[in-house]
C-alpha cells in the first residue's frame, strides 16, 4: 500500500502585512536585502511570519511542515547570499521568471554558517510535535549554477565545495523527517553529457548528511532521460520530485517507464505559478493516473506537492493550494 503524503518544498509568499512592515523596516534597494545580521525588529517580524506559516500548514493538515523560508529574499540562493564568504553582486533573473536575486559571488572558503539550522530550530519550537518537520535547501547543482565562483577556480571543485558546505549545514539541522533539495537547474541547464555523475555525486554528498528521507525536487519541466536515469541510481535520493505541471508530462512518464524510479516519488501536481486552484478530485486523479504508469509493483510513498516553490502566488492563493493538497490526500484515502 502506497502512502500518500501532502508536503511542500517551502519558500512561501510573505503575508501581506509582512510585505509592508518588512519593506518599511528594510527598504527596497539591493543593499537593503537580508544579509544574515538583521536587527532585532526585523527578527521579530520574521518570527511572526514563521509562526503564521506553521499555523497555515497545521490548519491545512499537511503531513510535513516546513519553516516557510520567509527570510529567503534571494530565493534558493539564500544560503549563499547570507554567507560571510560571499559578496552579493548585481540583481539577476531567477530562472525564466519575472523575479530577481542577488548574484552570490563566492570569494572565500565556504565554511559552516548555521543560518538555515537556526531557522529550523525556531520552526521546531513552533510546531511543538504537532507534525513532522521538512527541511528545505537548494540542491548543490542548482546552487552552484546560480552562484559565481571567484575563489575555487574550477567548476568541479566549486560544485563539490558547495555540496560539502550544504552537507555541513544539514548536519546541524534539528530532527527532520524529510529534506527537500530543490534542483530546478537540472531541468533548465542540465549537466553536459558525461558530467551527470559529478552532479549526482554532489547531491549524494548532501543526501548522505541526514538520516531523513531526501526528496530531490526537480522543476520547470521534465528531466532529460539520461540524467533521469543517473539521478534514480546515484543521487542517494529516497524520492525524486517530478514536475507534472510544466513541460511535457509524456516525457516524464516515459522516463519512469523506461528507467524505473526511486522507492518513493514526489509529484509536482499543483501549479505553484498560477492562481487557479486545482480541485482535490483532479489532483487525486492525477496521482492515481501517474501511479498506474509506474511499472514497479507499488512503491513506498507518493508525496503530493506543488511543482515549484509557492512564493510566486498571492498569499490567499498559496493557502488555498495547501488546502487543495491535503484535500487530495483525503480523496485518495
Amino acid at each position: 500500500m502506497t502512502e500518500r503524503v501532502a508536503a511542500t518544498p517551502g519558500l512561501y509568499p510573505l503575508p501581506d502585512w509582512a510585505k509592508e512592515t518588512l519593506s518599511d523596516l528594510k527598504g527596497h534597494q539591493k543593499g537593503d536585502l537580508l544579509s544574515g545580521d538583521e536587527s532585532e525588529a526585523i527578527v521579530e517580524q520574521y518570527d511572526e511570519v514563521r509562526a503564521e506559516y506553521v499555523d497555515d500548514q497545521l490548519d491545512a493538515g499537511l503531513d510535513r511542515v516546513v519553516e516557510g523560508q520567509g527570510r529567503w529574499d534571494d530565493m534558493i540562493a539564500h544560503p549563499l547570499t547570507v554567507h560571510d564568504s560571499v559578496e552579493t553582486g548585481g540583481i539577476v533573473r531567477y530562472y525564466d521568471n519575472n523575479n530577481f536575486y542577488r548574484d552570490p559571488r563566492v570569494v572565500d572558503d565556504l565554511d559552516f554558517s548555521g543560518d538555515v539550522a537556526r531557522e529550523l530550530e525556531s520552526a521546531t519550537d513552533l510546531i511543538d510535535g504537532a507534525a513532522p518537520l521538512a527541511a528545505t535547501l537548494p540542491g548543490p547543482y542548482s546552487l552552484a549554477e546560480l552562484a559565481t565562483d571567484e575563489h575555487y577556480g574550477d567548476e568541479a571543485a566549486f560544485q563539490a565545495a558547495i555540496a560539502e558546505f550544504l552537507a555541513g549545514e544539514v548536519e546541524a539541522f534539528p530532527a527532520h523527517e524529510t529534506l527537500f533539495l530543490l534542483e530546478p537547474s537540472l531541468v533548465t541547464s542540465p549537466p553536459a553529457e558525461g558530467e551527470e555523475s559529478a552532479a549526482t555525486d554532489a547531491i549524494a554528498t548532501v543526501a548522505d548528511a541526514t538520516d531523513a528521507d531526501v526528496v530531490v525536487q526537480t522543476f520547470y519541466g521534465a528531466l532529460g532521460e539520461k540524467l533521469y536515469a543517473h539521478l534514480v541510481d546515484e543521487a542517494g535520493a529516497d524520492a525524486l520530485g517530478l514536475d507534472l505541471v510544466a513541460g511535457d508530462r509524456d516525457d516524464t512518464v516515459y522516463n519512469v517507464q523506461e528507467f524505473g524510479s526511486t522507492d518513493s516519488l514526489a509529484l509536482g501536481l499543483v501549479d505553484g505559478q498560477n492562481t487557479l486552484v486545482e480541485e482535490p478530485e483532479t489532483i487525486a486523479e492525477r496521482v492515481e493516473w501517474f501511479e498506474s504508469q509506474i511499472p514497479a509493483e507499488g512503491f513506498d510513498r507518493t508525496y503530493l506537492t506543488p511543482n515549484t516553490e509557492l512564493f510566486y502566488l498571492p498569499a490567499n492563493k498559496y493557502r488555498a493550494k495547501l488546502n487543495a493538497l491535503t484535500a487530495a490526500t483525503e480523496v485518495l484515502e
Binding site: 501581506d16 510585505k19 527596497h28 537593503d32 519575472n98 498571492p314
Partner: protein, 357 residues
C-alpha cells in the same frame, strides 16, 4: 510588413520648427509624479480624511496639465501627460478590462511587489480605457499628444492565466480589445499611439506572437495614425530583423543604457520602420550634457537617415527625481535641434555620422 511612416511623420513638425531637418522628439511616457500627487493618492484611501474621489480626480487633472506643460516647456514636438493617472502598467489596464481579478501583491525581488492580476474568464471590452485622459490632455496641450498603451503580450504574460488554454490565445483576445481602444482614440483625434511590450525583452522567442498581436491591433487603422512599438532592456539581436515584418511605423529602443553597443545589430539588413532612439539613460540620476547627447543621436544616424529618426529617452522617466527628468528632456531637445542645424549645414557626414567634421 512595416506601415508607412512617411505618411504620418510630417504632421508632428511644429509650424515654427527652426530647421529643414526634422528629428521628431518624443518621450516614452511615464514621468515622476509630483510629491503632492503621491500624497493625494494615499489620502483618498484614508477613511479619516475628507479628501474623496472627486478631489483625487481634480488632483490628477492638475498633475496632467502640469506635466503636459512641462513637456512643452522642454520643447518636445509630441507630448504625454506623464501617465499621472496610472499606477502600474499592467494594473491600470487590468482594472479596466473585464475578465481580470486581483488577489494581492506578488514578489518581484526583495521587497518590491507587483499586484499581478489573474485572468479568470474571457476578457471583454467595457468602458473606454484612455479616451477621457486623451481628450483632457489634448485640450490642454498645444503640441500633438502621444498615447502609450501597454501591449497585449505584456498584459497577457504578466498576469496569471486561469481562463485560457494557452496564454497566446489570451494575448490575441487582448489584442482585439487594444484594437477597439485604438479605434476609439483615433476617433477622438489621436494620431500617435505607442504600444509598450517590455515582456518581449525577456522572452524574445515569442516575437511571432507579438507580430500577430500587432496585426490585430492595427487592423483598420488609417496610415495617418502613427503606431510605435517600445521594447526596453533586451538582446535586440533576438528579435531583429523579425521586427522589420511588424506592422508598425516606428520601433522605440533603449540603447543608451548599454552605450549603444547593440547599434550594429540594426544595420544589417536595412532597418525598415522609423527608429525611435533612446539617447538619455532613464536609470542614472545625472543629466547628460548636450554634447554627449548629440553624440548619442549620431548613433541613430548609423541606422536610419534623419527623416526616419525619432529621438526619445531610453524608457519612462518615472523613477528619477523630477528636476533630473526635466533636465534630461530639455537637454535632449536642445541636442536634437543642434544636430538638425548641423545636418542642414552639411556638417554631419550621413554615410559616416560618427566621423568628426
Amino acid at each position: 510588413m512595416v506601415r508607412n511612416p512617411s505618411a504620418n511623420r510630417e504632421q508632428f513638425r511644429p509650424n515654427d520648427h527652426p530647421n529643414d531637418a526634422f528629428l521628431l522628439t518624443t518621450v516614452v511616457g511615464s514621468y515622476p509624479k509630483p510629491k503632492w500627487l503621491n500624497r493625494a493618492d494615499e489620502l483618498v484611501d484614508d477613511p479619516d480624511s475628507k479628501f474623496d474621489a472627486t478631489d483625487l480626480e481634480e488632483a490628477h487633472d492638475d498633475a496632467c496639465r502640469l506635466i503636459t506643460h512641462e513637456h512643452e516647456r522642454a520643447g518636445l514636438d509630441t507630448v504625454v501627460d506623464g501617465e499621472m493617472r496610472r499606477n502600474e502598467m499592467v494594473e491600470f489596464f487590468a482594472e479596466r478590462i473585464d475578465g481580470y481579478e486581483f488577489n494581492g501583491p506578488v514578489k518581484v525581488w526583495g521587497h518590491n511587489y507587483f499586484d499581478k492580476p489573474s485572468v479568470v474568464e474571457e476578457v471583454e471590452y467595457d468602458e473606454p480605457w484612455l479616451v477621457d485622459e486623451f481628450e483632457f490632455t489634448s485640450n490642454v496641450a498645444e503640441r500633438p499628444v502621444k498615447v502609450p498603451i501597454t501591449g497585449p503580450y505584456t498584459l497577457g504574460f504578466w498576469a496569471f492565466n486561469e481562463a485560457y488554454p494557452s496564454t497566446e490565445e489570451l494575448v490575441y483576445d487582448l489584442a482585439d480589445l487594444v484594437n477597439e481602444e485604438v479605434e476609439k482614440l483615433v476617433e477622438a483625434g489621436a494620431r500617435y499611439i505607442q504600444i509598450d511590450e517590455p515582456a518581449l525583452a525577456t522572452t524574445p522567442e515569442d516575437h511571432a506572437i507579438v507580430g500577430e498581436a500587432l496585426e490585430r491591433i492595427v487592423s483598420g487603422i488609417d496610415e495617418e495614425v502613427r503606431i510605435g512599438l517600445h521594447v526596453c532592456y533586451g538582446d535586440y539581436s533576438r528579435i531583429y530583423p523579425e521586427i522589420n515584418d511588424y506592422p508598425i511605423d516606428e520601433f522605440d529602443v533603449e540603447l543608451c543604457n548599454g552605450d549603444f553597443e547593440q547599434i550594429p545589430t540594426f544595420t544589417d539588413p536595412e532597418f525598415e520602420p522609423d527608429l525611435a532612439l533612446g539617447v538619455v539613460d532613464a536609470h542614472t540620476a545625472e543629466i547628460e550634457p548636450v554634447e554627449e547627447i548629440k553624440a548619442n543621436i549620431r548613433q541613430g544616424l548609423r541606422v536610419v537617415p534623419p527623416e526616419k529618426l525619432t529621438i526619445s529617452p531610453d524608457c519612462g522617466l518615472k523613477l528619477l527625481p523630477r528636476d533630473i527628468a526635466y533636465g534630461k528632456t530639455e537637454n535632449m531637445v536642445t541636442a536634437v535641434r543642434e544636430v538638425e542645424a548641423e545636418i542642414d549645414a552639411g556638417e554631419i557626414d550621413l554615410d559616416n555620422p560618427l566621423a568628426d567634421d
